[in-house]
Subunit: 118 residues, 2 copies
Amino acid sequence: MVLRHPDRDQIRIEGVLAALGNPVRMAAVRVLDGGGEHNCSSVLGILGVTAKSTMTHHWRVLRESGVIWQQPSGRENLLTLRREDLDARYPGLLDAILAGALRDEASQAAQHVGPSGG
Amino acid sequence: MVLRHPDRDQIRIEGVLAALGNPVRMAAVRVLDGGGEHNCSSVLGILGVTAKSTMTHHWRVLRESGVIWQQPSGRENLLTLRREDLDARYPGLLDAILAGALRDEASQAAQHVGPSGG
């Protein structure tokens, strides 16, 4: 089965934002951004939370919006972030988003640690 | 009626991205970013498309995600982009998104004009 991917010039910003505007998909993209070879199982292992069937939907949203490549490799699909395409089309966007996710994570961790926040 | 707005440190990137990952909300935010005083009616007038009742939902999504202020003013709500909060929390994000939307618009216009694209 050939999976449909948009060409670079078919990517639309609303699609990219909608794809990343979900905590599970954001977490998955952060795993892919961390490097290494990944397929669905390896990402699931790292996230440690989501059922494979649910994740199939999330991969499709990420693929059809142009955020990831999903390429057949053996029995699974190799998953990679389309950083080159996204950076070319929307300079600074992916970095700002990933930095923002990291920042949210740090501020939530800080709120859990101490009663000093307000 | 007091409308609920998240504090700056309650804003989450997934919420901001989901809010902007919709063409109508993106168009509305671009109007607000263009400056001037706006309420629902004035934005609707500029967009020229969406029913007021539908827009009420969109304003709520934008407000609850921390993207806009919606402040009572006379019979309507004054609408403003929370640029200062968004820029402080996610440096470069809003600019990258707005530039991306502009770029999409330009590339779509170019595709409509000529048969040379491929």
